[in-house]
Symmetry: C2
Subunit: 247 residues, 2 copies
């Protein structure tokens, strides 16, 4: 298999490939956190680095797939991947009796779209929010425009896991079909959420995985008296950043 990803999907594909005994090539941005690259390598995957600004990771992935006869496993713009990521929403739906809203980290939108399908099936009135970094709010702008728009190239946020160029085609169609809304959070709000997660929830969450909690804590949606589901997805944070966010 071959996959492109900044880290979490990379490790998931590499781990699954190892489990099933098939070779894996992972295309990762050269500026991805070092330990994400190392973690992916540790699963036995071959790593191909690319330049986030200049290169087209999808083209690189497709070329490797064709040259070497490997199956391309996209990180979000694929119905099977969306269904797999949606099992997070299924787990939430199975555990609670009632849900008024859900806050889900959004970049390519696969996790958000998959969770929305699962949650809306059980709780038709549940509001589903895709949460993205404020500097990287293509999802909000796409919903407003009625068509997918891109993020400015080179824009950065501490949420390295949420840096895809734009929301995927399938996720965007599902977002419109399931009435997903968008909210955004600042890097400082994300840091505050990571701090709260570590000190109060006792969980180590990476920036991109903490945006939902950040949106809740920053009062981005009306929460009083409501039951809100928050997805905390991704714990690939290095020690330096953990030290920085601790009180």
């Amino acid at each position: 298999v071959v996959a492109f990803s900044s880290g979490n999907h990379a490790q998931a594909v590499a781990g699954a490939a190892k489990h099933f005994g098939v070779p894996a090539v992972i295309v990762m941005p050269a500026d991805a956190p070092r330990f994400k690259i190392e973690a992916t390598k540790s699963h036995g995957a071959e790593i191909v680095l690319y330049d986030r600004i200049k290169d087209d990771r999808e083209a690189i992935g497709r070329a490797i797939s064709e040259e070497r006869g490997l199956t391309l496993v996209k990180p979000f713009d694929d119905p099977d991947i969306i269904a797999g990521q949606g099992t997070v929403g299924l787990e939430i739906a199975e555990e609670v009796e009632k849900l008024d809203a859900a806050l889900i980290c959004t970049s390519g939108g696969g996790l958000t779209a998959g969770c929305a399908i699962a949650l809306k099936a059980r709780f038709p009135h549940c509001a589903v929010y895709g949460v993205e970094p404020a500097e990287h709010d293509d999802f909000a702008r796409s919903l407003k425009a009625g068509a997918r728009v891109k993020n400015a190239p080179g824009v950065r946020s501490i949420c390295d896991a949420l840096m895809s160029e734009q929301v995927g085609e399938y996720p965007f169609a599902l977002a419109k079909a399931h009435d997903i809304q968008a909210v955004s959070v600042s890097d400082d709000e994300v840091r505050a959420a990571m701090r709260f997660a570590a000190m109060e929830l006792k969980l180590v969450v990476e920036p991109g995985g903490a945006v939902g909690l950040a949106a809740l804590m920053a009062g981005r949606i009306a929460a009083q008296g409501k039951r809100i589901g928050v997805v905390l997805s991704g714990g690939n944070v290095d020690a330096e950043m953990m030290r920085e966010v601790l009180p």
Copy 2:
């Protein structure tokens, strides 16, 4: 209610008292981590501090109980508390099909004894280990001596939650009846376990809660090919210590 505890039992009793709307007085060591005292206060409890070396916390608790007509809730030497703490073992027993051994943080021994009852009922051949700081190994010495012995006063370890003077009467009787064994770990082994918990398991665990994982990582018991249950209990760690244990 009135209770004496260095932190975790203190917060549990204070939280339960708040929930049921009854007043709580918590007797805590003056050198308990500041944030444990603050967390207990935040549940609305009245705090009475004592000197860990000079004072007898049980006598203080009993005196307050008699003077003010409050029920004394002991941290471990009480059959009801042991049964409550044993629900941790019940949860493990319900979740797995097979268990060869369990590693449980031990100080007064209530959690260990309660878990042993639950685990041995389902898995009669499961080995249950109480894990304690090496400098504070009264449980191991008590088992060896066949009678409860005390720790030297003033002995310290980073495991502030495991500093009781000796194993309780009920827990010790149960340890003998259920064939509980003892292993111990050094402070450095505990730090390594906290680091692993944060970076790999994505969990913030306090020193006293990490001793079971430390024992497993240090090879204190034969683990190869076995299914081992490890209780990670307590996340009351301050930011300074977290910074210290991070890689």
